[in-house]
Amino acid sequence: MEYFLQQLINGLTLGAVYGLIAIGYTMVYGIIGMINFAHGEIYMIGSFIALICFSILGLSGVASVPLAILVVLLVTVLFTAAYGWAVERLAYRPLRGSFRLAPLISAIGMSIFLQNYVQLLQGARVKAMAPMVTGGFVVTERAGFQVTLSYMQIIIMALTLILMAGFSQLISRTALGRAQRACEQDQKMAALSGIDVDRTVSLTFLLGAGLAAVAGVMTTLHYGVIDFFIGFLVGLKAFTAAVLGGIGSLPGAMLGGILIGLVEAFWAAYFAAEYKDVAAFSILVLVLVFRPTGLLGQPEVEKV
């Protein structure tokens, strides 16, 4: 039981990070119906900006860890959101209204471009940061087996919860959320009723990139090892999570992320660890066979 509980904590932490990134995929898909394949790279850029910020703060002698994390979070979210905005402005907006595959190819190109850009700028070597937040609680203990919950894991899960709650409020209560939902349903009609579609789409990219930036900061803090290629695998897993939960659905993305995290942790816990990716993707296939729209996805209503 204690073993199960510890693996649950492991899986939830991993899943929270996947979920944060998955929201970026799902929001963009919801609003303009394209898969932003460069989103994994946005997350990677976020983790690099975080590492650079931490180094600068470390050099300038900021001793308070909570203050440092707060500052880094703010700066990283700002800069990464700017990247997200620029990607949309440069690579997707000019192609809006052209055939469906054009922005998709443009996204793949953007992903390769950003990878190489960071590789050239930062070098191909792995960047490491020594642990900053250490320690944690012992949740329960039996027969010498301690279930631990580290401060870092608490930070990741709490931050994810807060952001999730904030985002569902934003979508359901604010004018921006209303505009987003309107664009999702029908862009032309939304524009006719006075919604600035371009601005709404831009803001969606900004928000998605901001969440990916938070995930990047958490990765840098928690794992402490990043390189220019980390966006690929994590991006793929987060995309899978978004599809699993039902692409276009915000709670679905979070649920999908947590499920993927849990499957990975539990598969590695009880079965052969080398097959955990196989397990995660098999579940995706199974879900899609029986529920093509994903777990929480709405079937697309044919518009007449």
């Binding site: 020594a130 250490t134 944690g136 660890a273």
Partner: protein
């Protein structure tokens, strides 16, 4: 107008091509082209840098002393990223560049497929860092190495664990790559021979970030000593995540941890981590001036730097003695004689393995590694 421009351009290009053609011909007669190849980029780039620095310095020093057979050495650098597929591509590239000697590759998983290319193309290869036994066990006459083998390394590791950690609960985990699995299996073999039973075995996927699931398994099995077959990045992450979950398990690993990058990842949490590596060539007083030369470039000659240097020294001396760079003549020299290198005086056995000292244990302490003191 446009067509004219293009024709002028193509004429210029043709001249350019002809010029470079001449150039490579003249350089062939004035230079001996040699190469090193390893992970110059990617996750294991820290070892690629060790090789590149070692090779560049060796070429510089040998050329300053008059070169080999009256010719200067010219160094080519290949980047295989420790990817077996890319290693073969790099090997073919090096063949096309007319390389006479390869001081590489690094990862066993790269060296083994690449060696096939060098064997058929009759090019001498001395690996500075590939320790998987298979490399020299396939009867390939052109394949040598200046480092030890994992069966020696595993034996030393197994004996050490059996002697020093009697009665402790021991786990063996590896990342399924050629080097990692070989080392883990050789260590398990020796542990079994010594009557030590394992409390747990497992594998991980390299290049991931989250190893908390396997760490929790270690915790459940109350592991005291984890022998890890793999590279420094994953080992560092595992140590971090073990400490985070409150485990005091000591990590024991092999020669892929001899890089400062391991400590960059773990920080103080890496204290007490053990690893096997050959006796540190930097400790030899005769090598001190060379180590100082590296230090002046802002680089510590750690890990495989001096091994790459030594591989090139062996080639230079063998070529001088053989009076040529033909692989058949070179290997006759390699099998028959001794070489004076930065690793000391070394020779090679019939398989191509170095007849040098084996492995000793190191411990990470205060951000640096040194011989184990207990």
């Amino acid at each position: 107008m446009h067509a004219k421009n293009i024709s002028i351009l193509s004429a210029l290009m043709a001249i350019g091509l002809a010029l470079t053609g001449c150039d490579s011909k003249t350089s062939e007669s004035n230079f001996i082209v040699i190469a090193t190849a390893g992970p110059m980029t990617g996750q294991y780039a820290t070892f690629g840098e060790q090789m590149r620095r070692g090779a560049e310095q060796a070429v510089k020093d040998i050329n300053a002393a008059g070169g080999v057979l009256g010719k200067k050495l010219k160094l080519e650098i290949g980047d295989d990223q420790c990817d077996p597929k890319q290693a073969v591509a790099v090997a073919n590239q090096m063949v096309n560049k007319g390389v006479k000697f390869m001081a590489g590759h690094f990862c066993s998983g790269s060296s083994i497929p690449a060696s096939q290319v060098y064997q058929t193309e009759n090019i001498l290869m001395i690996s500075p860092g590939s320790t998987n036994p298979k490399l020299t066990e396939r009867g390939m006459s052109n394949v040598f190495r200046v480092c030890g083998r994992d069966d020696q390394q595993g034996q030393v590791a197994g004996d050490f664990i059996a002697d020093k950690f009697k009665g402790k609960r021991i786990a063996v985990v590896h990342d399924k790559q050629a080097y990692s699995q070989g080392l883990a299996e050789e260590t398990m073999k020796q542990l079994k021979k010594r009557g030590v039973s394992l409390a747990m075995t497992g594998t991980v996927t390299p290049k991931e970030k989250d190893y908390s699931a396997i760490v929790t398994r270690l915790k459940k099995n109350r592991i005291d000593i984890l022998f890890y077959g793999g590279y420094h990045a994953e080992a560092g992450l595992i140590v971090r995540q073990m400490r985070e979950q409150g485990l005091t398990t000591r990590l024991v690993s092999g020669d892929a941890l001899v890089t400062q990058e391991f400590w960059n990842i773990t920080g103080k949490l890496g204290e007490g981590t053990l690893m096997t590596f050959s006796p540190d060539p930097r400790k030899n007083p005769k090598v001190a001036p060379l180590v100082a030369k590296f230090k002046a470039q802002g680089f510590s000659a750690e890990g495989y730097t001096l091994y790459t240097y030594a591989a090139i020294q062996v080639f230079a001396q063998a070529a001088e003695r053989a009076g040529g760079t033909d692989a058949a003549k070179l290997r006759e020299q390699l099998h028959g004689s001794k070489f004076d290198t930065v690793l000391g005086t070394i020779g090679f056995d019939a398989k191509g393995d170095v007849t040098a000292p084996g492995y000793v244990f190191y411990e990470w302490k205060d951000g640096t590694y040194d011989y184990v003191t207990f």
